[in-house]
Subunit: 150 residues, 2 copies
DNA sequence: ATAAATAGTTCATTTATTTAACTATTAAAC
DNA sequence: GTTTAATAGTTAAATAAATGAACTATTTAT
């Protein structure tokens, strides 16, 4: 596929992914309400899209231990953004859902982020962006595969 | 540039950047020695490439407050990876450099990361990768611009 | 010579994380 | 069916990373 000496391409990718990430995260953080972190927003997003999920789902998605999710849920529960309900059939399982306040906050913040990302992507021609996202998607699959077989 | 309704492109980008990041970080972490974190490796990398830098340089690059750098340097100094020396001309300034142990550890870890990233990028044709990196680079510049004017 | 700016540190607090030990519940083995 | 395994989640102690405010030391500007 690639030539033998791909060192400079690897260097470039490492440098770019680091920088783009750092700047991107910084801009995303600017859209947040003062009492929320980006991790918390991503968590709200996951629960919102799933409508309801378990701590184990979150742990898998965010690639952290379940105890980290417990701690995160405690913080977000204290702020009144999430609810916990036990499964009646399997009493071990906990279902996480957003409260009205949690959903409202998510929607508000997500709208700002969409606006931000939209204004960034607006700097690209549709074809260039499509090509980029297609390769990005492929990269995603490659990483998933590696992570699966480990 | 883009059509009016770019909502799904924005969604796709948000989803992909989150996922690729999470999986990528997870794989990078796997290359690390048990007594080091990825943040610490990125810090070693910056100092190595700069040969010598100040806490302020690091704070700017990593977009954190200087006190965060002090704490990071304390941790890394305890492990014997970095040295601090005062500027003789301007006694306020501190120069950070890697110790031999720090450099050796950096080299060892960076080699593993290069190998990993190489094996990932190897899944792409040279042209596709080149196009991808070119757009990524442009994205980087766009983000830099936004971050500059804020 | 005094005031303002800069470089860095300290300290208290918060968030996010891991590991190990634990509770409660369900599923499997025999 | 009862004992054993596995699963879902929590608790608690420890560490890393970050912020913000107050502080020291030094240099630059007025």
């Amino acid at each position: 596929m690639l030539p033998i000496d791909i060192k400079h391409l690897v260097d470039q990718y490492i440098e770019l992914s680091f920088s783009v990430n750092k700047s991107g995260e910084s801009l995303v953080r600017d859209q947040m309400n003062d009492d929320m972190t980006s991790d918390q927003h991503y968590t709200l997003r996951y629960i919102y899209q799933a409508k309801s999920c378990t701590p184990s789902d979150l742990a898998k998605r965010f690639q952290v231990k379940k105890s980290a999710i417990t701690a995160m849920m405690n913080r977000m529960w204290k702020k009144g953004w999430v609810q916990r309900t036990r499964d009646e059939k399997d009493r071990r399982v906990v279902y996480l859902t957003l409260t009205e306040a949690g959903e409202a906050l998510y929607m508000k913040t997500e709208e700002k982020i969409h606006h931000l990302v939209g204004s960034i992507l607006n700097n690209f021609e549709q074809e260039e962006l499509g090509q980029f996202l297609s390769t990005y998607q492929k990269l995603h699959r490659v990483l998933e595969d590696i992570n699966k077989n480990k």
